[in-house]
């Protein structure tokens, strides 16, 4: 890709160095800690599943039993129980659901436990590698059949069985990516519900069974349409790593996963989030799952022109955190959004500048581009035109993952018709203006080039500031999105746990080794 903006490589380099410096101390903290959901995620990777009669998931039952002992790693006790009870993982899950207290069993010989754990790691890695192989094979088989950028739509009926109908219709209409939106507030649940679900508000519960049902439905379309359909969910909120684990097991292809979203927009404790985030990303990395970061949220909360630099700054931080978790650039769906006021004179030029800048700074990342939402109103006609402009900008600047704007964004979660119209519009606009990107050059020192330069510069200044105070204090001071989050407040802090000297987590060890960390 030839550069159209002639951005200063030195400033880009500078920003990357700042990000590395900013993220460093956080990573040091992360390495010393685990959390309840990291432990539960580990259990899930090992095969822990099911729920008791009250619906409490097995991983939660186990971790709850281990109050005070979590510093050893929950897996130690789960494997111990497995060895002690002598059955399969499924048997053990059933026993735990039935009331077995793993904490009550005396710990066996460490060597035996390690060996047993190694078996579980083996089973896990085979399954996930098979998933990756399957995905890669299908993508190869149907190469060139997806759109570029990938057309991404959401389903959000609340009922997984309705969702699959909507998803299948969308895939038939041309969608490349289907995201099942989670029910309102699942991010604040400190457990992942179990089984197929049919009741949600503005979204559907993320459960492993729901993942499986949707994956199976889409896999059928994959064969019928001859196009690999990517499935997306949210490795975000209080159960970030568990959902990553479920996604790895059920062959999801993308996960919303941001290093700071939960802190800022969900009031989740920052220590908790940073620890969860790293483990979840290691799982995603191993499973070949593209993460979608949440920079768009800065713009839905603050002004997109003024706060453009917060997006770029966050992209640099997310990139750094991603590298630290072993994610290669091709799995970094760094986020941004087309959220400027549509009445802004020349606004489209600024949008193009931002999108092109992201494209050039992160040339290998499949950038995730979010549609206009904040300025969408009940005027569905204007909304459609805004989406057309967005589709145009996306294709013009070579984005990777293109979330389709809905003409009814301000009204309801998408009707089947809304989704169809969005796909139809994107296909129409992108097909007719395809190739324009190769046709044009931007004027040196024009509005677009200057705007990109300016945002990059503001970003460097901002990152310098953050680097000065440190990332966590900066968040405390409200330097991101004008939201102040004290380090010792926020949801889920009680789930944070310093790792003990004998902390046992062969899955983590395995992932680190695999990912070369």
């Amino acid at each position: 890709m030839e550069s159209k903006l002639a951005l200063s490589q030195e400033r880009i380099q500078k920003a990357r160095e700042l990000a590395t410096s900013i993220v460093g101390p956080v990573l040091d903290f992360v390495d010393l800690h685990t959390t309840v959901t990291v432990e539960r995620a580990t259990l899930r990777l090992a095969g822990a599943d099911g729920a008791d009669a009250d619906g409490v998931p097995v991983p939660n039952l186990v971790v709850d039993q281990l109050k005070g002992r979590l510093e050893d790693g929950a897996l130690l006790y789960y494997v111990n129980a497995l060895v002690k009870t002598g059955g399969t993982v499924a048997d053990l899950n059933a026993r735990i659901a039935g009331g077995l207290d793993v904490a009550a069993l005396p710990l066996g010989d460490r060597g035996t436990l390690e060996a047993k754990a190694a078996e579980l790691v083996e089973t896990f890695q085979r399954r996930v590698k098979a998933n990756r192989a399957h995905r890669e094979a299908k993508q190869k088989q149907f190469e060139g059949r997806n759109h570029s950028p990938l057309l991404y739509v959401i389903v959000a009926t609340g009922n997984i069985h309705e969702d699959t109908k909507q998803a299948v219709a969308a895939a038939e209409q041309g969608a490349d990516v289907v995201a099942v939106i989670r029910t309102t507030a699942q991010s604040l649940l400190d457990y992942v519900p179990y089984g197929a679900t049919t009741e949600g508000f503005g979204g559907t519960y993320a459960t492993q069974e729901n993942f499986r049902i949707m994956r199976a439905a889409l896999d059928e379309v994959v064969e019928r349409e001859g196009r690999y359909i990517l499935l997306t969910n949210y490795a975000s909120g209080l159960c970030m790593p568990e959902i990553a684990a479920m996604g790895a097991l059920e062959r999801l292809d993308m996960m919303l996963n941001d290093s700071m979203y939960g802190i800022l927009f969900r009031d989740i404790n920052m220590y908790r989030t940073f620890v969860d985030q790293k483990f979840s990303r290691m799982i995603n990395a191993f499973a070949g799952i593209i993460i979608n970061t949440g920079e768009d949220n800065y713009l839905t909360t603050s002004d997109a022109v003024e706060k453009a630099y917060t997006v770029l700054a966050s992209q640099f931080l997310n990139e750094r955190f991603a590298y630290a978790a072993g994610l290669p650039p091709r799995l970094m769906g760094l986020g941004h959004a087309f959220e400027m006021n549509p009445t802004l004179h020349n606004g489209f030029l600024l949008e193009v500048a931002q999108a092109q800048m992201a494209r050039e700074i992160f040339p290998e990342a499949p950038l995730k581009y979010m549609p206009p939402t904040k300025f969408m109103t009940g005027d569905i006609f204007k909304g459609l035109a805004m989406n057309s402009m967005f589709n145009f900008a996306s294709k013009l600047t070579g984005q990777g993952i293109h979330l389709l704007g809905m003409l009814t964004e301000a009204i309801h979660t998408p009707f089947m018709m809304d989704r169809f119209l969005a796909l139809d519009n994107a296909k129409h606009v992108m097909n007719t203006m395809e190739g324009l990107a190769d046709e044009i050059e931007f004027r040196k020192d024009g509005v677009i080039a200057n705007r990109a330069k300016e945002v990059l510069e503001e970003t460097v200044v901002f990152l310098e500031e953050i680097d000065g105070v440190g990332l966590m204090p900066a968040i405390e001071q409200g330097r991101f999105a004008d939201i102040k989050r004290p380090a010792d407040l926020g949801k889920g802090l009680d789930g944070l746990q310093k790792k003990g000297p004998g902390y046992f987590n062969p899955f983590e060890d395995f992932l680190k080794a695999e990912l070369g960390l």
Partner: protein, 245 residues
């Protein structure tokens, strides 16, 4: 089988509406819009957008849910052609076999209507949307008189070339001008005692088989019709007539 509109859940009855009211924009206008939609039989009416079009007019976008339904099973539609539509080659073969002579077709866009593209799409060599026109069928002899052709003149021409079928195109429908013109055409034919002599088809964007038959035509062809549809219709009718007479 009772069906209702579908938003995202079966039978939710969700519908989008937009319209203008001859009142200023404002809370009172929005309430009027809401009441209006309710009166159409909607519940959960959301007037999601309103804007002034001028000092005395305002526009609304609304969503509503209705229990109004239709009985899908009971719906009868009669298209001019059934499931079997001859391809160009089949059509020619059938003519050769069953009729054994060339079939003569005359067509025009009549009255003051100047839209030639529709009738050209059916009749000219090139056809439309990769469907060849009647002119390309070896077993048809076609005469496309173009547009703005008076009804009288079209009939004269059909008589002159001893046509089997007459094709009438009508695209302008404002104030039902097409209905007037189409009716006049049939009346003229009848007055001259020629109605039975020709197979008479009408076509155009807003014309359906139902309307055409009501107005006394043999068949009607709307949006999405191609030469093969008319050809099939004409051929089958000619065979029918031959068998009957």
């Amino acid at each position: 089988m009772i069906i209702r509109p579908y938003g995202d859940t079966l039978d939710d009855g969700a519908v989008q509406l937009s319209f203008t009211l001859p009142v200023p924009d404002g809370p009172k206008g929005r309430e009027a819009a809401r009441l209006f939609v309710e009166k159409l039989g909607f519940k959960h009416v959301d007037v999601v957008h309103s804007t002034a079009l001028s000092s005395g007019f305002s526009m609304y976008v609304a969503y509503g849910k209705t229990e109004t339904s239709v009985d899908y099973a009971a719906i009868q539609v009669e298209e001019a052609t059934g499931a079997k539509v001859y391809t160009m080659d089949e059509a020619n073969a059938v003519i050769r076999e069953k009729l054994g002579r060339k079939v003569v077709v005359v067509g025009a866009c009549t009255g003051f209507d100047a839209h030639t593209v529709g009738i050209d799409a059916i009749m000219n060599m090139k056809g439309y949307n990769h469907h060849f026109g009647l002119e390309r069928y070896p077993e048809l002899e076609t005469f496309n008189l173009g547009a703005q052709v008076p009804n009288e003149k079209l009939i004269d021409y059909a008589v002159k070339v001893n046509a089997d079928a007459i094709l009438v195109s009508q695209v302008v429908t404002q104030k039902d001008v097409h209905i007037q013109n189409m009716t006049e055409f049939i009346e003229l034919l009848q007055a001259r005692g020629l109605r039975e002599r020709f197979i008479v088809c009408a076509g155009g964007t807003r014309i359906g088989n139902k309307l055409a038959v009501e107005l006394g035509y043999d068949g009607g062809f709307g949006k999405g019709s191609y030469a093969e549809h008319v050809a099939t219709f004409i051929i089958d009718r000619l065979i029918e007539r031959k068998t009957v007479h």
